[in-house]
């Protein structure tokens, strides 16, 4: 078994995630399996074909390998035919009603054009092999080098025809040329002819007599030929030329075509024909066989092949007239091509039946799934008992992977991605494997390596903070970092508990200590319920610089206000699709506002014209004390049907977020704070979808409305300006208001692998700045509205843009990470 072909037909759906936990948002990467050997093994015991058939498989020859690399299209078929090789039992039919393409024929067919091409390259004066020979010549040379001394000269006079059985059984002959001679036409067939796939012999190869005889036997039994022979001719240089005179099998012309799925059905057994049968017995025999066959058709299931393709094949049949072996080969290739193009990697044409009856019946083993096996592996790859409960994995598997469905490689990939998104496994494999007990059946194996259930991590970093005079001093090097722990997959139901503590200074952690403790409980409605709701409870704190207390243009320094939030949150997220979801829950938090020196600040500070600082700026909290406590309901519904079209995002995203105060907390805060974001990515040109195709130009339209009715503390006011609000301004530079409206348009034009864009944005406080207590917009001399426009380019993850703000009329270059929309 060639290992080169193995990864292809075994579906190397593997995903190794070494650092998944850190980057949980990373999309599932489907990579080729690194060690194909481990997957090849399960196939070996299932070889039910006589060794003689397996041996001369052409896939061993280097040209095959090269072809495999050069034309990826043939990858699927060639791989699949390897599967077939094990599945199909050759039918040595003498009746002529059953034409067998399995076994050697199928296996050889996998080589496809590669086989033929290789032949052409090797032959000295190969007709039409120019192209191939150019490509293959290095390989051919390499091949010639090695076995040079390993062959024997024929030791006979040159240019005589020698019968096969006259050859010496002890010699290794070098074959310099192979020719197929069509007896009917009396001419040799070109090297590109499909017959060349039938033989495993290659020009330049070295074979002994037994091998040549076996080859002939294969040809004689494959059903393609009515009569076939193998003649050798001695050459002056000690090599031999092989000529294969043949009579191609032909049958009556047909005007009907039928494709049936014979998977899981016993292959039609050839009954040895007694050579001593009388004419009557023989007739009887044929009749019974025809009857059997009719019954077989009746029992078979309809196949997936669409009408359009069937019609196409019918056309082929009609044009041809007589049904020849080569036509059947072409039909087989076409049918298999459709299956493989559509992901049915295990589908295989195994037989053509009912020949000579005006109808061609194409028997396909589509690759029905007979069993789905989920296995857990330990670190060494041994099967072990897993912690994860099966329903958790099963609900991630697409329907198409269930028992009774036809195996599809895309469904396998989907399963891989879905399972990967659970973030429970370090290694995932989805392998189809032939079912030994059920011919034509496929067992889908899902092999999983679980991640450690409990993990703890400490990461430290030293940040050098500016000391006196802005210079980093030794004394100011602080050890900081994160301590985190995680208990994953509790009860095997993907529940998890995780906590982390981060500080920038372990020596003085009270300065800034961020902690988070979260419990996640998926499958709230039960693991069998298709409704996908997840319960989350968390305990958190955060510290952010308030953009409300930011100066407008020209204001040098506004003393900053830090907003510390600490509290608990409990919510339920219902996922409708991968991107659309609805979250609702309760938040209880304590908000503390602090000034630069971490003292609680009840009011913002402002710089007086005289240069002094007065602390009678806008109040920072609702209570007026600098500490607020409140409980509110939070809901967020996201509708997102965006998708990547050749790398460009198209679609629509709507987000509505609502914070509903309950009147519980300091000063009984009762409010309704709402935000609606609408973003549309309009595709401006229809483009063909596919890898390597250019993305369309996209117009992005974006609108964001935020408003609040009721109590609005300054830290909850909506701020205008910033990279995610109005570009070209600093965070909050335009104002802080009760109601805001932001509008943006961006035109993205693809260039090479990336895109450039132009944009225009506007943000407006709708005159509601004065409705924020203390009017921070006015106190810090901000305009309350502003527009900007600019151009930019996406360089990998970084956006480089030049934005002109229209309030001052000046432009600046910005570098930003991530997407604006």
């Amino acid at each position: 078994m060639s290992s080169s072909a193995a990864p292809a037909h075994l579906l190397p759906l593997t995903s190794s995630t070494a650092s998944r936990r850190r980057n949980s948002s990373a999309t599932a990467s489907v990579s080729r399996l690194h060690s194909p050997n481990s997957i090849v093994q399960p196939n070996l015991p299932s070889v039910a074909v006589s060794a003689s058939l397996q041996n001369p498989k052409p896939s061993k020859s280097p040209p095959f390998l090269l072809n495999y690399l050069i034309s990826p299209k043939s990858l699927g078929p060639c791989a699949a035919s390897c599967i077939l090789f094990h599945l199909a039992k050759p039918v040595f039919s003498g009746s002529g009603t059953i034409f067998n393409l399995g076994g050697g024929g199928g296996g050889g067919g996998g080589g496809g054009a590669g086989g033929g091409g290789g032949g052409g390259g090797g032959s000295d004066g190969g007709q039409g092999g120019g192209f191939w020979s150019r490509i293959f010549s290095p390989a051919a040379i390499a091949k010639d080098d090695e076995p040079q001394q390993e062959w024997d000269t024929h030791g006979l006079p040159a240019n005589i025809v020698v019968q096969l059985n006259k050859l010496s059984g002890f010699k290794k002959y070098k074959v310099s040329e192979i020719l197929f001679l069509d007896r009917r036409r009396g001419s040799t067939v070109g090297t590109e002819d499909s017959f060349f796939e039938m033989v495993s012999l290659r020009p330049g190869g070295i074979y002994n007599k037994a091998q040549l005889q076996k080859e002939l036997e294969t040809l004689a039994t494959c059903g393609m030929f009515e009569k076939v022979d193998l003649e050798t001719k001695t050459n002056p240089d000690g090599t031999i030329s092989i000529t294969i005179p043949f009579l191609e099998s032909t049958w009556q012309s047909a005007d009907r075509f039928r494709c049936i799925n014979v998977g899981l059905m016993p292959q039609s057994k050839p009954i040895e024909m007694d050579p001593d049968m009388t004419e009557k017995e023989r007739l009887e025999y044929y009749r019974s066989q025809e009857k059997d066959y009719r019954r077989r058709i009746e029992r078979s299931r309809p196949c997936l092949l669409p009408i359009a393709v069937q019609r196409e094949i019918l056309q082929m049949l009609r044009q041809q007239g007589k049904v020849s072996a080569r036509l059947l080969q072409r039909i087989r290739d076409r049918v298999q091509q459709w299956y493989h193009e559509n992901g049915y990697a295990c589908a295989q044409v195994v037989n053509f039946g009912n020949l000579n009856t005006k109808e061609v019946v194409c028997e396909v083993v589509e690759g029905d799934i007979t069993q789905l096996v989920i296995q857990f592996q330990d670190k060494l790859g041994n099967t072990c008992e897993g912690n994860t409960q099966f329903p958790v994995i099963k609900r991630e598997l697409p329907k198409q992977l269930r028992q009774g469905q036809v195996f599809n490689i895309e469904a396998g990939k989907q399963a891989l991605r879905n399972i990967n998104s659970l973030a429970l496994f370090s290694n995932i494999e989805v392998n189809p494997r032939p079912d030994e007990k059920n011919e034509g059946g496929i067992i889908v194996e899902v092999k999983l390596k679980e991640l450690e259930q409990k993990s703890a991590e400490v990461s430290t970093e030293w940040s050098i903070v500016p000391g006196r005079g802005g210079r980093p001093t030794l004394a100011s090097i602080q050890p900081g970092g994160t301590v985190s722990f995680e208990h994953r997959n509790i009860k095997g139901l993907n529940r998890s508990l995780l906590g982390s503590v981060t500080t920038s200074n372990f020596l003085n952690p009270q300065d800034d200590l961020a902690f988070k403790l979260e419990y996640v409980h998926p499958y709230l409605d039960g693991v069998y319920n298709p409704r996908n709701r997840t319960f989350r409870a968390s305990c958190f704190n955060s510290r952010k610089l308030s953009p409300v207390f930011t100066g407008g243009p020209g204001i040098e320094e506004v003393p900053p206000i830090w907003v510390d939030r600490a509290g608990v949150k409990a919510n339920i997220t219902e996922n409708f699709t991968r991107q659309s979801k609805f979250t609702y829950g309760l938040v209880m938090e304590e908000i503390t506002t602090r000034d630069e020196s971490s003292h609680i600040a009840a009011n913002g500070q402002r710089v007086l014209p005289s240069g002094g600082v007065s602390a009678d700026g806008p109040p920072t909290t609702l209570s007026g004390t600098g500490v607020d406590r409140m409980a509110f309901l939070q809901a967020n519904i996201t509708r997102d049907n965006t998708k990547f079209l050749n790398g460009a995002i198209v679609g629509e995203r709507n987000v509505f977020q609502l914070d509903q105060g309950l009147g519980i907390g300091s000063k009984f805060p009762f409010f309704n704070r709402h935000q609606l974001t609408v973003t549309r990515f309009l595709q401006l040109k229809q483009v063909e979808e596919g890898a390597g195709k250019p993305p369309p130009p996209v117009l992005v339209l974006h609108g964001h409305y935020g408003g609040c009715v009721g109590d609005l503390p300054s830290y909850d006011a909506f701020t205008l300006g910033g990279p995610y609000s109005v570009r070209g301004y600093n965070m909050g530079e335009l104002g802080a208001a009760r109601n805001i409206l932001e509008l943006a348009a961006e035109l993205r034009i693809p260039i090479r692998n990336t895109h450039v864009y132009v944009f225009a944005e506007h943000g407006n406080d709708l005159g509601s700045s004065k409705d924020v207590k203390g009017n921070p917009t006015e106190v810090y001399r901000r305009v309350g509205h502003g527009s900007s426009y600019g151009v930019g380019a996406k360089l990998g993850l970084v956006r480089a843009e030049y934005a002109v703000d229209q309030n001052s009329g000046t432009g600046a270059v910005f570098f930003r990470f991530g997407e604006r929309f």
């Binding site: 519904i637 709507n654 509505f656 009762f670 409010f671 009715v709």
Partner: protein, 305 residues
């Protein structure tokens, strides 16, 4: 007036006898109407003579006046009492800063009022401008508007338009009286516009105009009283107008939390929140949910599915 030391109004004795007599008479009139406190708020653009007017009325130099600087950095309250009657005059900084009405100054005024006079009333507003400015412009209107926004339209029931620099020689073609009536008319018109007083309402808001001349070179009559070019002594005249206004039956402007902090936007619409919430659920969340459902239904399935 907690914490504020109320001085005896001794300076009243420096006024000429006729003025004294008149003032005492007017105060007695107020007392007889059970008004024992009078709070006067003085506002206007910068450099029009607000502080000087205050000094003139009190009769002593209580507020520093400088010719060129923005003279009053923050509001100052001068309180004087005489025989059980208290007069409070609040001098304020000019409302115009850098060509714009300064909200910040207004805020300081309001917070100043909040600190000193919470729950008390403003009985009279002196809106000060110069007689010798020939035209009114948009800025005047804005100043009036800012005052109206802060204290409410009602304050103009209690307002006197005070024209300083009254001693001037009018342009050749006009007599003093004509000039005065033209100037006061245009100022009142500006006030009416700025305060958004409709023509129909104009009768209700009869804003008296008083003339003031703070200069030391002010003409005086035989009783040594400062007189206007028309011959009337202006201090008793002004106080009389103030008294008249204080007793005009309209309530003063009560200084409360709402006035100081402006209208509380946090309370606006609170009652409607349950309704808003219901509408949001029905007309935002539900439609989005429906569209998600549509998306799910419309999702292009891969060929194998």
């Amino acid at each position: 007036m907690a914490g504020q030391l109320v001085k005896e109004w001794t300076a009243i004795q420096q006024f000429p006898a006729a003025t004294q007599e008149k003032l005492v008479d007017l105060l007695g009139k107020l007392k007889s109407q059970n008004v024992d406190t009078l709070t006067i708020l003085v506002m206007g653009k910068g450099g029009v003579g607000k502080s000087s007017t205050v000094n003139s009325v009190i009769g002593e130099r209580v507020v520093t006046v400088s010719a060129f600087q923005s003279e009053t950095p923050r509001p100052v309250m001068v309180s004087r009492s005489r025989s059980g009657f208290t007069l409070n005059i609040i001098d304020t900084p000019g409302l115009v800063e850098g060509g714009y009405v300064s909200g910040q100054v207004l805020d300081t005024i309001k917070s100043f009022l909040g600190r000193l006079l919470l729950t008390k009333t403003i009985d009279v507003l002196l809106y000060v401008d110069r007689l010798d400015s020939y035209r009114v412009d948009d800025l005047d209107k804005q100043v009036v508007q800012a005052i109206t926004d802060s204290f409410g339209k009602e304050i103009w029931h209690k307002a006197i338009a005070v024209l300083t620099h009254a001693q001037l020689s009018p342009p050749d073609t006009l007599s003093y009286v004509e000039f005065f009536s033209k100037r006061s008319e245009s100022l009142l018109k500006c006030i009416r516009q700025g305060a958004r007083i409709s023509k129909r309402d104009a009768q209700n808001f009869a804003i008296p105009v008083a003339l003031v001349e703070n200069s030391g070179r002010c003409n005086k009559n035989e009783g040594d009283e400062k007189i206007l070019p028309t011959g009337t002594p202006w201090i008793p005249n002004l106080v009389q107008t103030i008294t008249g206004l204080a007793l005009n039956g309209k309530g003063g402007i009560v200084i409360d939390q709402k006035l100081i902090e402006g209208p509380n936007a946090n309370d606006r619409g609170k009652l409607f929140i349950p309704l808003i919430l219901a509408l949001q659920y029905l007309f935002v969340i539900k439609p989005i949910q429906k569209r998600i459902k549509d998306d799910v239904a419309r999702e292009t399935r891969p060929s194998w599915a």
